[in-house]
Every structure is written in C-alpha cells, then in structure tokens.
Symmetry: C2
Subunit: 276 residues, 2 copies
Amino acid sequence: MQSTEDRPVTTAEERSPYWSPRTARARFRAGLTGPTAGVAAGHTQANLIAVPADWAYEMLLFCQRNPKPCPVLDVTDAGSPTTVLAEGADLRTDLPRYRVWQDGELVDEPTDVRAYWRDDLVAFLIGCSFTFEWGLVRAGVPIRHVEQGRNVPMYITDRPCRPAGRLSGPMVVSMRPVPPRRLGAAIKESSLLPAVHGGPVHCGDPAGLGIADLGRPDFGDPVTVEEGEIPVFWACGVTPQAAVMASRPPFALTHAPGQMFLTDARDEQYRLVGID
Amino acid sequence: MQSTEDRPVTTAEERSPYWSPRTARARFRAGLTGPTAGVAAGHTQANLIAVPADWAYEMLLFCQRNPKPCPVLDVTDAGSPTTVLAEGADLRTDLPRYRVWQDGELVDEPTDVRAYWRDDLVAFLIGCSFTFEWGLVRAGVPIRHVEQGRNVPMYITDRPCRPAGRLSGPMVVSMRPVPPRRLGAAIKESSLLPAVHGGPVHCGDPAGLGIADLGRPDFGDPVTVEEGEIPVFWACGVTPQAAVMASRPPFALTHAPGQMFLTDARDEQYRLVGID
C-alpha cells in the first residue's frame, strides 16, 4: 500500500532525538517530511484523525471500545486546530505529512491541510508506540526501523475491532523484532505505558494475526528480522485509518503512517507510577 | 448529603464475597439494597450514569478528559439496557439502588428505574475502586468501611475536572485509611488497575483536596481512622454525578453512591500484565 514516495525524503541523521518537540514541529511545518521515530527523545508522539462533528461520537466510542489500538490522548473542540498537548502548535501544519480521505478513499497526501480544514472537524490525538521506543532502547531492545533508516512496518490484521455505530474495521499493528533475551523487558517497558498502546498484542508467528508476509507491510517499510529474533506486534494508531477505509465516512484527515504529531508531553506523564 | 436512609438495610453479613455476579444481580433485582463493597470477590464493579443521547458525546468526552475519576468500561447503544460486561443483565433493575436526576436535582432513589427509562438513554459503566479492594486485602490493607459495615466515605474535592462542552464539575474521591507500612503496597496494587481509578490522587492531609472534615463525607458514611493511619484518596466514579449536579442536564439516571453494578468481568482482565 505504501510506495517509495513514503520513504524518508531526508535521512535519519537529519532528524534528531535532541530536538525539542517545538523544534520538530517547526521543521515539519517548514516542509520537512519523513518518519518521526527517533525524534525528540522522551516526548510523546501522537496519531491524528479528524472527522466531521457528526462522526465524532462514533469515533470516540470506537476508541473507547478498542483501547489497545486507539488510546485517546486528546480530543479538540470542533474546528479548533489546537491541542492542550502542545503549546502554540497547529494541527493543520505541524505534522510531516497528512492523508486526506473522501468516502474512505485516499485522495491526497499533502504536507499541510489548511486548504482541507473545516469548521466542523473534531481531531483525535491517539497514542503512538514510537513513544515507548526510548524505553525499549534503554532495555537493550534494538529499534530496527530506526537502525535501518526506514518507517516502522505496519500490518492490517484479521482481528476485527469492536464496532461503534457506523465505524468498524480491522486492528492494525506495528512490528519490531526482539531478541528472546530482551522479550521480558520489551513487554514490561511497553506495558508501563498503556496510553501509547501498552504491551504487545502478539509475539511470534505472524500467521497468528493473519499476516501472510512480514516482508510486505500494509503501511511503512519492511525491516530485517535477524536469525532467532521474535517478531513482536503492538496495536497501532493507524487502526482508525483502517476503520475509515472500511467504513467510508464522507471526509477524514489523518497523519501519514509513521509521520506523527510531536506533543510537548513527556513519556513520564503517561508512565504508570508506584509500581516497583 | 447522605442520610441514614442510605445506610445498609441489610447487614454486611447478608451480602457475600462468595456470590457470583449473577447471583448478586439477581438479589439486587429482587429488592436487596445496600453497599456492594465486599460482594462477589474478584469481579469488577461499575458506576452507572445514563444520559440522553444528545448529551452522550459530552459525557464520553468528559470521561476521556478525566480518566482517573471516569475510566469507561462500557458504553451502551441508545435505549439498550444491556451491556457486554454482564450476560443477561438489565441495567434498569440489577443495581441495588438508583438515583434519578432532573435538571441537576435529585428527584428519586428507586430500586428499579424501568418507569424512568427512555429510548434515547446512553448508559456509561465506569470503573469502581471496590474492584481493587480484594488486592488491598491481599496486601494487608484493612478495608475499614467493610469492617465497620458502612458505605465507603466519598468527598467532593476542590479539584475541578477538565470540562467537556456543557459538562463540568469537581472531582469526587473515596477514602480508605492505610497504615504507613502498607502504603506502598496499597499504591502498587491500585496502580496496577488503572481501569478502576488506578493509584491514589492524594495521601495524607485532607485539606490538600479542600476537604474540611473527614467525619462528614458528601456521600457514604464516615469511617474510623486509627491513630497513625494515613487517609488515602482515590478518584471516584461518583464524579459524573457531581458533574450532573453542577451542569444540570435535563435528565440523568445513576447508581446510588456505593451501590454498584456487578459485572461478570474479572479484575484480572483489567490488571496490567507483564510487569514484575
């Protein structure tokens, strides 16, 4: 589904873990595109989906009913492109790349959606697994897609989400290869952050999720799975896009998969506390 | 605010931790009333608030914006008194006691709300801290209100919730006295269950939440705080009722504080996994 046009137009070296979220948003606003994995270390990244107000209740309910793929971090007031999660940010310009959907069909992938914005749009910011990659790194888990300068691989699974009104669709997952000796740490680290998908939904054989070929992701790029590594699958915030594709609301705006919104929130804010 | 009429009409001994949720619901349907703390060990209890469909989006958004007091476990389809959380249950009859609200005023406290039910009502089931009391007991924390055969004390705090459209109001908390040597365990046990309010919002001096007198709770009954014990405050699912009182929607149905809905869900389903 993704083509080479979604490959980074800049190299991984040009995007930095040392950027503040504000700097990252400014660079993306100025036209920089590409995956945001590895950018602005320790800051929470978010998926974006904006729908017309008459679809907002069903989208919020869809998220409530499917909290693993759709953990809601913020919901904007209708028409407002601002969020409490990032001071001074404009959701219409500050992501690297967007997708525009009409009747469930992808019609454009601009770097700015001001021309598409509507006064009745309600935007949902949904947790992203890029957030816990810093914890994985600290736990000794390689982040293969960052190592390889690629977008994380994402797959449409055979697991249906629980529908909400007119919205239904399959769960989407992201995949990271994990050495068996690091599997416990990877599960623990991600489980501590349920607001960004929490622990994995599946480990091992991709067929367990109805995924036929790890080498052909539905979104993003394939990555190398080394001998002995276990593919580990986390629920993914691209799931609402799959619901848009399946349920065909008249209009929706989303981020381009892997090209997220950088919030000012720190991962620690979402980390469970009081646990040894 | 609570009077003696809300004291248990049966003794604690007449309600049993050994009941299945189905048995508990049948007893309450048959007319038994009183607090549900200590009933149906290991099963998830839920707060109820039902509002007309044209308030449902704001209620769901209010819950999303205030996840500590309002962790949503299920949302029903408009008019339906059933939930995926309890097979064969009827939300109109299966709670011990209800509250009926008109324009933000409490107008009735029946044991059955079939006469008040409307086809446009959307019911929200919200996690309840009674759920993690079993974990507290295992961790050596006394559950004073159960020991004393009373309803848990609940207090309206000076902490405002984040508003959602027409809905706003203060956070409500429940209080349990905890011996200092058990405080770590109490925090850990409850933190593992974020779907039922998670870790406490405050420990110690009640003035930190604007609570003037622990002996005069806004809902439920006072309990004894022994010498040296620390009052520990958890966010409470009565918070939506405080929002109803403050925001005055034309109509709402809720449970009576402390008299919860017993679901078939087991606490383990909501417990974070993969954490040492």
